[in-house]
Structures are given as C-alpha cells and as structure tokens.
Symmetry: C2
Subunit: 331 residues, 2 copies
C-alpha cells in the first residue's frame, strides 16, 4: 500500500506541475497588464467559479464578436468591399454593359471614390452584382480563392493576416473557459464562413451576418442553393440583437464590438439579468494600425464611446493595451 500511495503521489505531483506550467503561460500574452486585460480576466474568473454567486453554467456562456474592426482590420475600406471591387474587375468581360453604367464604369476606370460617391446605393449595386447569381458552393470557392491570394493595399499582407493577435488569444481564452464564441457581424455570412474556422477557430454555424435570399433548385437532378440579388437580413445596429435572437436564441454573456454599429448588441447584452460584460475596441494606434473614432466613415465610434464611458464598459485602447497588433509573420 505504501508503494502504491507513493506512486499516486508522484502521478498527482506530475499533474500538479503540469497545471502550474500551463498557468504560468499567459493565455493573453499580447495584452499589456492594464485595466482592459484585468477586467476581462476578473470577469471570466467570476462567472466560471462553480458555486460562486455569479457562476454562469457552461451552456449559457455565449460570447459574441463583431468582425470588421474588432477581429480583423477594416481600413482603408471594409475588406468585403475590396473583395467586391476585385470581383467587378474579374467579371467585367462578361458584362460589356458595365462600361457605360455606374457605379461600374467609374470602378473599371480605377476611380473607386467616384464609383462610391452615390454611397449606399452604389455599394448595394456592387454587392448584388458580385454576391448573387451563383450557387452557394460556387460563391464559397470564389471567396476561398480570393482570401488565399488578395493582398491588403497598405500592408501587402493577406487579408486573413490582418487579424488582431490579442483578439485571437481572447477567443481561445474564452473557449478554454467554456464559452461558445460567435461572430455577429454586419458583413456577409457567406463571405465569412469559408475561412473563419481556420483563422479564428469559429465554426461556420457560429457566424451571424448579413445575407441575401437563397433559392432551392434542382439542376441536372442535383439540388443547389442559388444566391438571389435580394437582401434577406442586415445584421447591423438594431439588426444585431435581432440576429442574435434569430440565430442564437440566447442573450450573450459577453459582447465585443468597435463601432456604433455594435451599440445595440452591447445594450442588449448589458440588459440581461446576471453578470454581463461589454467591451469596445478603440482604434487609437495610427502607427501600428489606424486611429479613428467619432468622425470616421468606416467603423464610426461616437455614441458607443459615450455610452461605454457612462456605463463603465471596458474600452480597449489599442495603442496602450496591446503589445502586438497583428500575428507575427509566418516564415
């Protein structure tokens, strides 16, 4: 018996050592030890401690993240818009009429600003012309090819390399603590699903986004889903809590955004009973990324910043809270 106990003790000792080592490696190592990191870690400890008054059962641990400007960059234009512009160029030979039709004519002459002068209407036309008229499987392949090759105009990196290293760590940290991590983005759901599992570790079924209508058809005896040029759902502003209810059906415990488009998601999250956590990523780093907020056309953060300050939500100051912004270059 003595020997057996000794061996048990040795085994347990090894296990305990393993735990200590695992603890010593900081899962949020790209975060500086400032107030943002502290509030995150304290909140997670509080809701995952069994028996504690604020304990949240694992099944209820839903964390929702905006994508553009929260998990990956969004300057100088939303990456999905860059995709759409590239698609216009690729499709132009099949559309000779675009030479005389705005916004396509300006775009094909290289005048992006002119093409987008009409604002939302121009964007709508460009998105419909490039995101519809094919099957979901065809579109998935187009997105995968683009994501694997297109480069960001400023950094020269793949767009999927313009993701925020501290947020990748945060996603993994929350999952390790029993959270289901969701994207809730104004971006197109079919544009995100092909790559988010590889890049963020978020499976396609945990992506809520804007979408066009789909039509089920038989083609040569094989069923396909055709993407129609009609909007089905816009997952932005008031659409975000609606999207959360439609697609998840459970109120998040934690919500993460970076713009006024996320404000309603954060309000909806904060209004739940029990412990809730809301966080805004504030783009304050013109050197390593971009600095913008109240006056920006893209990712405007104005009302949200006021409400965050008033209500004590966590605001990440990218410049001071993040040790690194983007993941290290792959050799």
């Amino acid at each position: 018996m003595h020997t057996r106990n000794l061996i048990y003790a040795t085994l347990l000792g090894t296990l305990a050592l393993g735990t200590t080592v695992a603890r010593a490696a900081d899962p949020l190592s790209s975060w500086n030890d400032g107030p943002a990191k502290k509030t995150i870690v304290e909140f997670v400890a509080r809701v995952t401690k069994e028996g504690a008054p604020d304990f949240v059962p694992p099944v209820e641990r839903i964390a929702t993240f905006d994508n553009d400007g929260c998990l990956w960059a969004e300057q100088p234009m939303y990456f999905q818009l860059a995709f759409a512009l590239d698609r216009v160029k690729a499709l132009a030979p099949q559309h000779p009429e675009w030479k005389d039709k705005e916004p396509f004519a300006s775009l094909l002459k290289g005048d992006v600003k002119g093409a987008l002068a009409d604002g939302e209407k121009a964007v709508f036309q460009i998105v419909m012309a490039t995101h519809a008229g094919m099957t979901t499987e065809e579109f998935e392949k187009i997105v995968k090819d683009w994501v694997a090759s297109a480069k960001h105009p400023k950094s020269g990196k793949l767009y999927t390399e313009m993701v925020y290293q501290p947020m990748l760590e945060l996603l993994a940290y929350l999952r390790a603590n029993g959270f289901k991590t969701y994207i809730v983005s104004g971006g197109g759901v079919e544009f995100m699903r092909p790559w988010v599992e590889r890049v963020y570790g978020i499976p396609p079924e945990q992506v809520v986004g804007s979408m066009g209508k789909l039509q089920y058809e038989m083609r040569d005896g094989k069923p396909v889903l055709v993407k129609l040029p009609e909007i089905d759902f816009i997952d932005d502003k008031e659409g975000k809590p609606v999207g959360i209810q439609k697609f998840i059906g459970r109120r998040p415990v934690m919500a993460f955004g970076n713009s006024d488009g996320d404000l309603q998601m954060l309000q909806w999250t904060a209004a739940g009973t029990g412990p809730r956590f809301c966080l805004y990523v504030h783009h304050t780093d013109a050197d390593r990324e971009w600095a913008y907020d109240r006056a920006s056309h893209i990712g405007k953060l104005d009302k949200g910043l006021d409400e965050a300050q008033r209500r004590g939500w966590t605001v990440v100051d990218m410049k001071n809270d993040w040790k690194t912004v983007f993941p290290p270059e792959k050799k």
Copy 2:
C-alpha cells in the same frame, strides 16, 4: 519498477473493464435489432473511425432532425396549433371583436373544424394573433407555462411527454459520437427553444425553425425585441435546405424526417460529397401511436416514401423497429 508496472496494469485493467461495461449497455435499447438500427449503427461506426476512408472530422458531424412527427408526435393536430388555440381562448376577453370574426368566432364556440375550414389563411390568422404583439421574453414565458401544464387530448400526458424514446436515445447516441444535433423544423423557433434543451438536450442555438419578424425597441430605457405579426421565414420543404444554409452553413452528414416537408432537407443532405445518411420515420403503429402516411393532412409522407425506397434511404417502421414509443411514465 515492477510494482509501478503492476499498478499501471491494474489501473489500465480497471479502465478497460469500464469500457466493456459501457459497451454492454445498449445506447439504443428501445430499438429492436432490425435493419433500421443496423444501418444507423453501421453508418456511425464508419464515419467515426479515425483513419478509415469515410472518416468525418468531428467539426463536420452535423445531424439535423425534423421535430413534429420525428422527435415528438403531431396528431391529432400539430402541438403548436393546439397551443395557438389555447391562446385564442386565453386572449378572448381582451378581444371582444373576435366573437363576430372568423376564424376566432368558430373557435370560441368550440368548432375547431369550422375555424380551420379556410385552411392556411385561418391558421395564419390564428398564429399571428397568438404569436405576435409581445416581447420575446414575454412569449418565452407563455410557452413555458403552456408546456408545463397543457395536456394532450388523447393521452392526457404533457405534450413534452409525447416525445419518442427511441429518438431521444438516438440524439444522445449521436452526441456521444461527436455529432452536433440540430432541430430543423417547420414549427416556430420561438415556440421550441424554451423547452428543447430540457427535453431533447438540444440547446436553443441549435434550433432552426419558422419565425416572425422581430423589432428592437427601447421601453423605459430597457431594450426589448418585439414579435411583429409578419412572417420572416418558413422553414418547410424548400425552406429546410435554405434554413440549414442560413443558420448552420454546413451541409448535414445525417438528416432525419418523417414527411414530404422534409424531402428537400434529405435531398440536400444526400447530395453532399462523402458519406451521408437519410432516414424517414414512418408512422405505422395505430395501437401505440398513429398510423398515417400518403393520405394524411398532417405529416403527409408520399413522395418522400417513394424517393426513400428508390434511393435506399433508411425507413423506420415504428411498429416493428421500436420496442417502446414514449418514455416510461414518471412516478
């Protein structure tokens, strides 16, 4: 070293014994050892065996289940319609105008058949009058109260006791084999989510269903989602593969239905590359449940039965394949 090895061997022996015991308890004990059970078990073994040609990685293991007539009964009328009729009675005092307005007038006189004579239009009016005009949280409470008290007219059981024991075992068996189990039902998503986790072990975020439009509003400084009397999405027939793409974004590996309303879901599943499994529950047991198929108004199974036979899909003969239908009564 000798002693340590001996103890390791003892520990391993205990573990191995545990495995044997677990295997001996049949996870599908309410299924007779017929062809339906055999095809299920063989398919699951085939796709979960690592290194085998048909291995499906756990992240891709999606299984979708219809609800009405597949996981719980649907006779003599869809249970959600029974809920709606009960709600009309409960709400009648607030709607004096219903006394002279069809389909409500007939309903309130107890003439269900007369009320539903108009078919879909009558059902639409009844559903809109009972499923809209309140917040999502208010509706959730109404559903929970009804589910906890309303009794089935024939069996006298709670509706949530009219679930199929063999299907409960199948859900648990698939989850134990790494599958994510989803409901993909023509029923209302907000009607199912309040109780499916408790009854089926399926979390609300894994329920795809029909839904009305939602509106985000501030009421006394608190955000609410209001259920509007407008249809947003009908998750039936062609709507099922559309719903799977919208809400899951991954094609199921296994799909389970019982009516022609599930045919497109099964076709869409079967059309995927790699191993796929389609199953129809055929209601053949007039003694223990109900017997109906090609001529039934509810849960009609006609084209689907032909296609299942032609394509070799599994068809469950409830009378012969199931040892028991409903769970044993709770004492």
